[in-house]
Subunit: 438 residues, 2 copies
């Protein structure tokens, strides 16, 4: 790229071009942007400055007018852009790659136009990132096999670790859309009912003592299916717009008391944090790999011809203490799933359930096959609070303390070919609100 | 009322004035309306025809401008109106009652103005009703004590019928917002994974054989709470805009195979039907009564000073066969709840979970204490499919057949004082889509 500040190992390389919603002090209204290295490109300002014939050269073969495309860049969410479909998304990403190449075929548009550069390019520290899509419904799956197994062993022993349905269908449940926040939003420690004394059977109402994170990959839906009409596994890929990192914060003590028989509720719905940049599905294509083997004969609607159905994304989770000491406590990979996102979509819609543009699907917690440092939650790392995790600086943790910051990262690819990463998905724990117990 | 077509036993009496979203052929754009007897009053047309001083006389003491009020009547959902708050809702309902009284203090506005009557009043058969609110999140509770007990006995026997948490907190889970439809929308029989042969442990993929309804009361949220800030039980009433009937369609065979450990998913998310008219919380005030006694010492945040915390609404459910034979198969009452909606709200937000205007809370299935004809679901009436239910015309049912129409009704009050009812909440079962099994 000709971008002067670009560093070759950036996760926002020429192979990436994720999209997000930003605002900046020049023009506080939200709009669509992309990022290259450390520089955020305001696509509203960029495309507004170009005439129709230039836009047609930059984005050839859209199948829609450039006016319609450009209108979506002025929206305050990516939903309208997503609904244009994957064909348009491919052309736009290719156009951006062409525009920023050192040997760009369009030098006059931006490379040699320092005025327009000044207008539409902002350093990432100058912009505010927002939740990128209007999320109608959020569904969280449980496709991380090692997580499901580890947690199952803890609660039911190794012989009954997985429920009989686990290898037959991608288990999922409905999450809470209203409490999905963007990276950087502080997370208040939730109050809840907790059964502290398992003997007494009388709960107390207190701030959670078992606040946890969950390392997940999230997928945003591109376009709606009609109510009553299932999406086939072969078509499901077209319903995926892109991916984000997802920290599905969980209060384990609230969850364990409430969740029988209808599933998690207050133990989950206080907050979920996502990374701000949506990595386009096409950017992850080179990183396809095979999922965890499922030896069960699965139902026809879940069988994929694409065997490389998951992505090889290295995931990391850090805890930074209030004193500023950072420790990478877990390393895992998004390939450790037993179910792919197309399988989740085929299952979710098998009964005709309508998905909408902007719906978010979570993978479920992703843990690796190895020891505590490959797990995607403190519940697993600490074996339910029984084992301490050592942090740099000498602190110990079983669950999160007030003042802790949890940061997820996810990157694939090499410096040579261009890294494709998600940026940070981060949240800091604040103390609980004042509460009056019994 | 001076309304000539009004019949005194109408459930849309002068004591009601529910609100809904309608469109009609004259002006197809959605707008806010109310109903009196059989006549729908288009509040956009009505208020647009009046000048500011007239509107101020009709709706005195709003605390906002009449322009701001009237703008909400042109919206395609009730969300903006709901956010104006219960003080405004009270004044508007009172103004409508004054306007339609036989001895109205404002005869010139409408009673003696047949031109305006012709413009703004439509017979109910002339309008199309829409989902009245934009529903950000839908939460379904499980507060119907007799339902929870009956179902628990079926699955776990009488000694363990209720989970230990049941009397300590209003158990709830997240439902699917995208598949909430308005009364009259056909319901396609869902396909799903079903464990037909419990021995073989190998599921099949087929249309549900156990399609069921659930008789519920739904509450819409008026205004948002800030993320991280619980709503106290004393304030919770101010967060309730109004009520609808809710049929939470359920596929029992899909549900029983999928729901462990994370709760119902495809067994529920294919459709939920609501009645179109939102009965204002104030209209139900005269019908307060006490809930089912809870002998457990509950947590402080759930304790109400208002002891009459539920409503005495007679609920009925009919099945109409494809041949047109109608049978009222169940009669129950919305007072058969162990948890009130304010308790549900206090619990839902205890952890800081943000509610938004338009969110829908379901009560959970409401069954009476008596026999099969007091239950709110076929699962209970047929004891899981073991007992036949006799219909007029000689048909038998355990679960629903294609072509069946399920109709819920809910009414309170007397003809003398004016009935307050919900109208119908109805849906007809269509055959499943073509599917290819294994
Ligand atoms: Ca999760
Ligand atoms: Ca229900
Ligand atoms: Mg969450
Ligand atoms: Mg439902
Ligand atoms: Ni709007």
């Amino acid at each position: 790229t000709w971008m002067p500040t670009y560093k070759p190992d950036s996760e926002f390389s020429m192979a990436n071009f994720p999209l997000g919603i930003v605002s900046h002090s020049d023009e506080p209204r939200e709009r669509v942007a992309t990022i290259l290295g450390e520089e955020v490109i305001d696509l509203r300002i960029l495309t507004t400055a170009l005439d129709v014939s230039t836009l047609k050269r930059l984005f050839p073969g859209l199948g829609i007018t450039v006016a319609r495309l450009c209108a979506t860049f002025s929206e305050s969410t990516l939903n309208e852009y997503a609904e244009l479909g994957r064909h348009v998304h491919r052309i736009v990403r290719k156009g951006l790659q062409d525009l920023f190449r050192i040997d760009t075929p369009f030098p006059e548009i931006l490379r040699d136009n320092s005025n327009l550069q000044k207008e539409c390019i902002f350093h990432q520290t100058q912009v505010r990132m927002l939740v990128p899509m209007q999320i109608g419904d959020y569904t969280d799956f449980y496709a991380g096999y090692h997580h499901a197994y580890h947690v199952g062993v803890m609660f039911r022993g190794p012989d009954n670790a997985l429920q009989p349905n686990y290898t037959h269908l991608p288990v999922g449940y409905h999450g809470r859309a209203s409490s999905i926040v963007v990276s950087g939003t502080p997370i208040k420690r939730p109050i809840g009912q907790i059964l502290v004394d398992q003997e007494k059977k009388q709960p107390v109402t207190e701030p959670t003592r078992k606040l946890d994170f969950e390392v997940e990959l999230g997928a945003f839906i591109t376009k709606p299916n009609k109510m009553g009409e299932p999406v086939s596994i072969e078509d499901a890929q077209d319903y995926i717009f892109g991916y984000v990192l997802l920290n599905d914060w969980s209060a384990r003590d609230i969850q364990s008391w409430e969740y029988v028989p209808l599933g998690p509720f207050n133990g989950k719905n206080f907050a979920s944090t996502i990374s701000p940049w949506v990595v386009m599905a096409d950017a992850l294509e080179p990183f396809r790999t095979t999922p965890i083997e499922n030896k069960t004969e699965i139902q026809k609607y879940l069988r994929e011809t694409q065997k490389k159905s998951v992505y090889d994304i290295e995931l990391e989770v850090d805890i930074t203490t209030a004193e500023g000491e950072t420790t990478t406590i877990g390393r895992t990979n998004s390939k450790f799933l037993m179910w792919s996102f197309p399988q989740m979509i085929a299952h979710h819609t098998l009964n005709g359930c309508p998905l909408r543009s902007g719906d978010l699907l979570g993978s479920g917690t992703i843990s690796g096959p190895g020891g505590a440092d490959e797990r995607g939650s403190l519940l697993e790392m600490s074996e339910g609070g029984k084992r301490n995790i050592s942090l740099n600086g000498g602190d110990l943790r079983t669950f999160l303390k007030d003042g802790d910051t949890v940061t997820l990262r996810g990157v694939c690819g090499t410096t040579e070919a261009g890294k494709v990463g998600f940026g940070q998905c981060e949240g800091r724990i604040r103390g609980a609100v004042k509460w009056s117990s019994n």
